[in-house]
Symmetry: D2
């Protein structure tokens, strides 16, 4: 069985949860979506994340959905499941369910009640104890969690909790955090964990240059992230940045708080990856103006990519 | 089957969730706790509330616990179950489970993402639609939810969502809200719903005088709330206030944010209502100093009650 | 000139800012208020605090008001001035103005942007540098500032910033913080600074028992705080607590968020300490119901104090 | 004297406050900066905004700085001054000072304590009353203020407060707000006020297409905003978007929370607009990595603009 390790790299797509127009889980689309991601360079999948509408699923639906994902993936990629919970008991139950079904690891965001260094460290120590040998991703996303985690705290967690194998870096953009963690690994012999970056890919070239191992986010064009990661690694920095710049106007548009997921689902449906762009309630929907702006940005993006010979 | 209505009154205790010292659900204590509450004047129970460590239970444990409560209550009291969720699908599933087991209604707090009047009204309209004919309590607790609900919004929800039959009033203390809602019922013919008050009972005499129907909170001495409600209703205001004042030093001590639940469980264990005072992780615990302060306050409380002939 | 030191103790009243009914500074009432506080046991005054409507004053008015306070006090008591600012330059200017006029020290709350231990320590180190040899009070009030300061951070500030001579303790109630700071002074030879407690005096007996040196808060009956502090020190714990309990119902009522200052000013005007109960805009006002509740609580308080022979 | 009106349009630059390396106000740079902005298409200036380090200035410095700005502008452009304050008295004093010196209007952000529609409307009504006939900009910036203002509330303020002549639109991006406000002006005969957009210009093409009148923000290349606004207005949408896209990678980089102002000042210093890139304390500074990323982005931007014949 695939297991998440410190070597995780490439593009871990934050997977959507496809629904029908009436709000039911759409399992056929789930299959197509997995294929879509894999064909466009995904090296891993992350399910039940914040942008996966996880909080709108019942426990039973969560399990049905993840089982379907895992069946379709069929061991070809590691699948990480979000298990953030207010209590350790439900987190443990969800983790056991997911790992039992074949997940490679789990992702844990800090509860918004944590208010200082010692509380954050204590929380991840306890989480590590509860989850036993299950490898986990520390999700560092202050904009949503309201918890700001200093580098020294991340370093302490790396030192003390061996099952913390990956940082989902989303402290917008906190490039200096990546630099500091890489430096402590190189010069102080600290354990080097995987760093995968979020933020919709909006800072991916700089994040890679600072030492990140890839992306863990959900832009509707995974090929952007695949190519940026690949060319950065191969030292073709200008090419990486050219491709990034071509996608940036749309990536920026997709980053609108409150509307971003609707935009991403619209594009994914348009590209044939899922049948319906519908969000489950409560959720936003797009206006005609929004849609015509998206369409225009896609057209321009296509043209620009052609100019670049992509 | 008992069903929650606009006539709900008296003392709806926010029930604890008893655990053993090692953090397992303690179902024997659950029975004793139900008896304890009923012997001391509870007219209803509210389970899976914020002070019930609901968020630390797995879905399965929640159901086991509530089934046990309902079995012990055996139809003698209405039981309200907290079902607040980020999405309507899990809220609906939890509601159906609870109502199927025999609950009288559910309680819904607003998600902290709601940021203006229209969003709050829309949320409760959608919730009402999703839950069908299940009666619910609107929980108004800005200190925890970060959502401030103006009187005009509560009134609109009362007007438009007939299954909203009760307000859990906890806008600290927001006495003017009670006055305004009662006035609109009396002078404008608006529907009069039940108003039960939280805040650990810290403002109960004034809340009753403003028109509240009782308390929905969880102080370790339910008899204080029983007596204050009773004597207020019977017009014995001085006696009501005398009793209240006797309990106030301890009630105040129990209201310490971050420590309050540990204090409440300590006293409940001391009084024999539950076997262990332990909170499930993550949770606080008491120091020796805390315990000796509690003991001293209990002693003084006992003396003062004797002086008052209680 | 009086200068704030680690020995500060007793009752530092958070002074009101008296306005006329039309919102002008009322300097005559300022004099009466100073007399009122001094006659009822104040050992210090704190001006321009959060409950002093400081943020509604122009810089010129702040100076006029503080000069008047200092003139009336005439060196008989130390006066601490709140100087919290988003930037160090305005903080320094305000501090120089206040100290030049005769203040004994200043009080600094952390800006709500601080999000972890290192940021808090860094902020107070920089503040200490900017203010030179001016003694200051560290205001620890998470409910309003959203900044939670762990004991270890307070200890580091005590260790590294010698001009931090006092902690205004208002981490509701955070009794364990007092215990921890006193223990580190006793057993590890750490510098012992003054600890004065806020919270409207709601936890004063316990705070004193844990090692606090007094109160820094603003209840409309300063004599409560004077007596509680005095009898605690003299070892008359029961008497201290009896007096406290007699005032508690009203103190509790005065602690209503959003309404508390209106209540305090109403009582102060009733007691003759200031001419008008008006708050400057934007500010709340009392309803008839509020006023009759206050009057009733005062009556009961008077009776209870008589019973106690006070 | 120029006075801000509903016709405000073009590019209102959020002006920096230049400091020397040691943190003193740099008035010579203030002059150069004004020239720099005017030469690159500014049609107005906004001073003492959040990105202008206003909160780090003393009142006296604020006045000195604004006087210098106004002298250099010499009536050629309208200058708007930020006067947001917790109280109306200091807001009024600051406003009178600024208008007396020659400002065209003021800008007011809502205090973060406002929590519902009625409170927001009430606040702006009171502010309008206090400021008399002074025209003001309503700053709608929830990310920083935590106050979300629905369209219906903005419309009510437009209806009831005639001196509200402009909306600084920064509800990221809230394009639908612009659409709704323009529609109510066109179809319901509502007053049409100026809408100028913030967000570092990151959504300027879409904002203009939705009916905005220009930008009010502070990207270090004002010429981007000048050209995007101009070509949008002239119907050259592709050209407008091409230019926007060329600047976008750097504009995105400048939008990093916590670091953005350091980046903007670095570029402004590099371009000769100000002498020093230093922020006043407390403030961030750039690492070598940051600087080399900025330099590379500027190089690429220059190349891309040449390709486009700009």
């Amino acid at each position: 069985m695939t297991r998440l390790t410190e070597d995780a790299n490439g593009v871990y797509i934050i997977a959507l949860t496809p629904f029908t127009d009436t709000g039911a889980l759409d399992l056929d689309s789930t299959d197509r979506m997995v294929d879509f991601y894999m064909e466009r360079g995904a090296t891993g999948l992350t399910v039940l994340g914040m942008m996966g509408e996880a909080q709108k699923l019942t426990t039973e639906e969560s399990q049905t959905y993840v089982k379907r994902i895992l069946k379709r993936v069929d061991g070809r990629l590691p699948v990480v499941a979000g298990v953030s919970s207010a209590g350790f008991a439900p987190m443990k139950t969800l983790t056991e369910m997911m790992m039992g079904d074949g997940a490679a690891g789990v992702m844990i965001a800090p509860p918004s009640t944590l208010r200082n260094d010692q509380q954050i460290i204590g929380y991840y120590q306890q989480a590590g104890d509860f989850l036993g040998d299950v490898p986990f991703v520390l999700q560092d996303f202050p904009l949503v969690t309201s918890v700001t985690i200093p580098v020294s705290v991340i370093q302490t967690i790396i030192d003390q909790v061996p099952t913390c194998v990956c940082l989902k870096h989303e402290d917008w953009p906190g490039l200096s955090k990546i630099t500091a963690l890489r430096k402590s690994a190189e010069t102080q012999g600290k354990r080097r964990i995987s760093i995968l970056c979020g933020n919709g890919g909006m800072f991916l070239p700089e994040e890679m240059a600072r030492g990140a191992d890839g992306a863990m986010t959900g832009f509707a064009y995974p090929e952007m992230m695949r190519d940026v990661v690949r060319f950065q690694r191969e030292g073709e920095l200008a090419r990486s940045q050219d491709i990034f710049d071509a996608y940036l106007p749309l990536a920026r548009y997709e980053q609108q708080p409150g509307l971003g997921l609707s935009i991403r689902k619209y594009i994914m449906a348009k590209r044939g990856a899922i049948a319906s762009a519908a969000l489950r309630k409560p959720g936003s929907s797009l206006s005609k103006d929004d849609i015509s702006e998206i369409e225009r940005l896609i057209e321009r993006q296509t043209e620009r990519l052609q100019e670049l010979g992509q």
